[in-house]
């Protein structure tokens, strides 16, 4: 299915958010996720299904003021 990850369209075999992160190479990365604009806790990623057209945001620690 096609989903939008951090603004870019990806075609993924994954059916859950956890699988998508693994497929994208972020399986073990320290990241926070939001699905379609809502925070998705790490504990819920494995049981949260993806559907075509979903918007996934994957955020990491960054410099800030």
């Amino acid at each position: 299915m096609k989903i939008e990850v951090n603004g870019d369209t990806h075609t993924l075999a994954a059916t859950t958010v956890a699988e998508a992160l693994t497929e994208l190479g972020w399986g073990n990365a320290r990241v926070a996720t939001a699905l379609n604009g809502d925070f998705l806790p790490a504990a819920a990623r494995a049981t949260t299904p993806l559907t075509d057209g979903d918007r996934l945001e994957v955020l990491a620690p960054m410099q800030g003021g």
Binding site: N6, W26, R30, A32, E57, A60, P61, Q63, G64, G65
Partner: protein, 257 residues
Amino acid sequence: MTGHPRAFYGVTLDSPLMLGTAQYPSPAVLQAAFQASGASVATVSLRREGGQGQAFWQMIRALGVHVLPNTAGCHSAREAITTARMARELFETDWIKLEVIGHADTLQPDPFGLLEAAQVLAAEGFAVFPYTTEDQVLAQRLVDAGCQVLMPWGAPIGSGLGLNNRYGLKTLRAAFPDIPMVIDAGLGLPSHAAQAMEMGFDAVLLNTAVAQAGDPAAMARAFALAAQAGQIAHGADPMDPRDMAAPSTPVLGKAWL
């Protein structure tokens, strides 16, 4: 240090200096600035994963300071709330520097969005540090919402103008004597930090003035010393200014020449 410093959600800081982590020429310079200043808090952010996040986080952890994530760049309560929730999980802290920006040029807080987000986040157990103005009505609403800290701006973010509205800040400080307050944003020189602390504020938060200085580590140390000096001066109960001169050398006993 004199007096009894107000605690930030139960945490008493070793230094009244809070430093941002952005805009430094290199990670090594950032580290040097923290080491030279003894800053007690580092503000951080979260952005789309681009491969640098993990190394940055390791470096921040190694600094051994309190971490204060921000919601910088958020222009709505919804954005800020979602960002705060993500930050809590990512940085493993309830602390959140809540920014809801209302104006692109001044980066002035949106008071309505800020209050809306603060109400939601405080109810969820966040320790909210709201980036606000000197507006007393808004301050009261934020306190009523559950904010136990206020962070009024000195001047627009990154401007380096110092304390733009000393009267407003002075009255805000006086109106909420029990609330810890941080002057956040707009400080350009160590003297600005000293002025803020002399007025009774509890800490200063800055980034650009240090990160963009020619020698960030030296400037960070200068800010730390200035903030500490101002803190001590406030505890020492400064004299009231007066319009007319008053001789400091005794007049009594002066020779009649």
